[in-house]
């Protein structure tokens, strides 16, 4: 028994060492060949995985790839051959930093292209500036990326978030009388946004525009795009009774918000989104059906909605290709989500009614579920039931009267205190 155990240990060590060695060999960079003199090497960084991928980053990545392939096939630009290295930022700022440094230092790229989330652009731009390489940002619309930073090597081909925000308020102010039957100064508006660089920036534009138009701002609130529950935000909105809601979010949170808004019977005359999830029309329609027809969105038009006849003829097949390739990429993503989510049980089936499914959806529930079980007393069915209600109420009420996150703080503090007072569970008999 002891012998075999030790032998198996040795085998595992050997095998894992071998795997590591192979992987290292596979990953070590191929020595660069200086054959062609004029070559431009581009490092492309987008999120192929994680919540931002479905929120639109993989579409951007696809667009970039199509254009790069197109020019590479044509033989390059201005006599320069083009070569691209692609990297996945996995929806995490620290990975984006790692990849940016790696592409510049190891792969020796001449410039970086891409970046979807402003939370990645802000730190990466600082690094790139330090290394004195070019960074060409396709998305990251937050003003915080460029404003007052005096960057010399970073470029962005996008309007800033503030401009988005101003545009949407301007649009509502112009149409208020004709379409909503109210003077702008009588209009009750709410501004809600995810609290990353992007949402904060657009909401600032919203606020500025609302002030200019004379709207009555009844609610302005941020939330974390990863928040697992937005019901208390919806309740707050119901209480504030806005005519128009200005919303800025990514994708999973937009679907979640809209579903919960529908369930709780939130009413409004107009809802204006600002890109990201609101630009991915297909996904919204999948989630909400006909309701999407009552939404407005400030965004460059999705290419598959573009009028083919108005385009240059050579662009039409390109666009068809985008849609086709999009399906393919999505299938791979589906397989990995299925594998990742294979352990979700019956509760998950019920939760899917409210949530967009993505491979990371489970992460926000695991710890809370566990805490609730222990709070109720392990193996105590009734206790678990009561604990779940108490937890949910604390989270919702905390979120209703303060910011969303404070609800969780209250619930966690309650848990800790109850562990001191009643460690065997809420309904346990005193021994």
């Amino acid at each position: 028994m002891v012998m075999s155990l030790r032998r198996s240990t040795v085998w595992v060590l050997l095998a894992s060492g071998l795997v590591a060695a192979l992987l290292l060999a596979a990953a070590s960079p191929i020595p660069p060949v200086h054959a062609q003199a004029k070559k431009l090497k581009i490092g492309v960084i987008f999120d192929y995985t994680g919540p931002l991928a479905g929120g639109g980053s993989d579409l951007h990545a696809l667009g970039a790839k199509i254009m790069i392939d197109h020019f590479a096939k044509k033989g390059g630009v201005e006599g320069y051959k083009i070569e691209a290295v692609y990297a996945d930022a996995q929806s995490k700022p620290e990975i984006a930093i790692n990849e940016a440094v790696r592409l510049i230092e190891q792969e020796k790229v001449d410039m970086l292209l891409g970046f979807y989330s402003s939370a990645q652009c802000v730190p990466v731009a600082g690094r790139v500036e330090q290394l004195q390489k070019f960074m060409w940002i396709t998305t990251c619309i937050s003003s915080a990326v460029l404003e007052n930073r005096n960057l010399k090597y970073v470029f962005r081909i996008q309007p800033s978030g503030r401009q988005f925000g101003l545009m949407s308020t301007d649009f509502i102010s112009q149409n208020a009388k004709a379409k909503l039957g109210k003077e702008p100064k009588d209009l009750r508006v709410a501004i809600i946004h995810e609290d990353g660089a992007y949402g904060v920036d657009v909401s600032k534009g919203n606020e500025e525009g609302a002030k200019k138009a004379g709207f009555n701002v009844v609610l302005k609130e941020g939330y974390a795009a990863t928040a697992p529950d937005l019901a208390s935000l919806v309740t707050k909105l119901k209480r504030a009774r806005p005519d128009v809601i200005f919303h800025t979010g990514y994708n999973p949170d937009i679907s979640l918000f809209l579903r919960q808004a529908r369930e709780l019977g939130l009413r409004f005359n107009a809802l204006v989104g600002h890109g990201a999830g609101y630009g991915v029309y297909d996904k919204l329609k999948e989630a909400l059906g006909k309701d999407v027809n009552y939404f407005y969105n400030v965004d460059p038009i999705s290419i598959w909605l573009a009028n083919e006849k108005a385009l240059r003829p050579e662009l039409v097949p390109l666009i068809k290709m985008v849609v086709l390739m999009g399906v393919d990429a999505r299938r791979i993503y589906l397989i990995t989500s299925a594998l990742g989510g294979g352990l979700a049980g019956l509760a998950a089936c019920l939760l899917v009614l409210q949530y967009d499914v993505h491979p990371f959806v489970g992460l926000s529930f695991g710890p809370i579920t566990f805490l609730i079980c222990v709070l109720g007393g392990l193996g105590n069915f009734g206790g678990g039931f009561v604990a779940a209600f108490v937890f949910a109420e604390l989270i919702s009420l905390g979120g209703l009267y303060l910011d969303l996150e404070w609800g969780y703080v209250f619930a966690f503090v309650f848990f800790i205190v109850m562990m001191f007072v009643r460690p065997a569970g809420l309904l346990a008999r005193r021994s």
Binding site: T9, A20, Y48, D88, E94, Y408, V409, F412, I416
Partner: protein
């Protein structure tokens, strides 16, 4: 022999950045050293059965207190970091003292601390007017880039040496604890609290001491991470996922040996980087899948961790827990 080998390895590590200058590799090494120190801090208490899932919270406190003091109060990190350590220590006492007093041990202790890291994460996110919320937070650059006063350096070599020194100090603390009477007291406590108390061990005090030590070390790791990366966000330095990351890495490396957490950090970080780079964008998402499977395999087949198993294989005769 082991000792002289150790000195040679140490000298090699110090000399490394002067010989080898690849910035990406140095960057990885700095990150690995900082995380190694954080993991070592966790295992200082984790090895005695005090499984804390609250270290993500301590790390977040360390990073955010230092950065907030610098940006809002203009307090140099030389004062900010001790403040951060103090804050981490106070938080540890606030949570751990009642836990030990009311004899909350084992899984229950893990869960109480789990709630703690949840609280820290949510408070950082909720106070977005000061901390930037999910957007993250960047310490203001001192003019000129590098400055000892602001503890900001643009060169990777400086950071490498700082991280190396702190990591070495972490190992030294581990070693001192390993050689102290405290270790015997804590081992007795982890076996049987009543027995230890009967034998004259002050259970609550001993556990509290090691918890505060571990929490303060972790807060230091958070502060260093912040000063090096110059960017922190709630998810990268705090929360439950960071706590779990610490536990996984330490278990993979080996919880009862001094170099275990370091090896855990090296393996988990390199594995994640190598997998991501080699799978690249060709097979999106598979790197995480393989990473997860390998982690599970390591934990199932090498419950003593990689270093622990090697030590056992090399010295099969000697019994008991050995320090390398």
């Amino acid at each position: 022999v082991t000792r002289s080998l150790g000195w040679i390895a140490g000298a090699g590590l110090v000399a490394l950045p002067f010989v080898y200058q690849q910035p990406y590799h140095l960057h990885l090494m700095v990150v690995i050293l900082i995380w190694s120190f954080a993991y070592t801090s966790w295992s200082v208490m984790g090895r005695f059965g005090l499984v804390s899932l609250g270290h993500g919270g301590f790390m977040g406190i360390g990073a955010y207190v230092t950065a907030l003091a610098w940006n809002h109060g203009g307090v140099t990190p030389w004062i900010g970091i001790p403040l951060a350590l103090l804050a981490g220590g106070i938080l540890a006492v606030l949570v751990a003292y009642p836990c030990f007093r009311f004899r909350i041990t084992g899984h229950y202790f893990a869960l109480v601390t789990l709630a703690l890291s949840g609280i820290v994460l949510q408070v950082i996110t909720a106070t977005r007017d000061h901390t930037g919320g999910s957007l993250g937070y960047t310490p203001t650059r001192h003019q000129g880039g590098s400055s000892l006063y602001a503890l900001q350096f643009t060169g990777k070599t400086t950071w490498y040496l700082i991280a190396l020194a702190v990591w070495g100090a972490g190992l030294y603390v581990w070693y001192r604890v390993d050689r102290s009477m405290m270790r015997y007291a804590l081992e007795a406590i982890s076996e049987d609290e009543d027995g230890a108390a009967a034998a004259g061990v002050h259970v609550t005090a001993e556990k509290l001491k090691i918890t505060v030590l571990s929490a303060m070390m972790t807060a230091l790791a958070g502060a260093l991470y912040c000063q090096y990366q110059m960017f922190i966000s709630p998810d990268t330095v705090s929360g439950i996922s960071i706590s779990l990351q610490m536990v996984f890495a330490v278990v993979v490396g080996g919880i009862y040996v001094s170099l275990g957490p370091t090896v855990g950090a090296v393996i988990t970080i390199l594995l994640a980087e190598v997998l991501r780079i080699s799978f690249g964008t060709r097979a999106v998402g598979w790197d995480n899948l393989v990473y997860g499977i390998l982690l599970v395999l390591f934990i199932v087949f090498l419950p003593k961790g990689i270093v622990g198993s090697i030590v056992d294989a090399v010295r099969p005769r000697r019994a008991g827990r050995l320090a390398v």
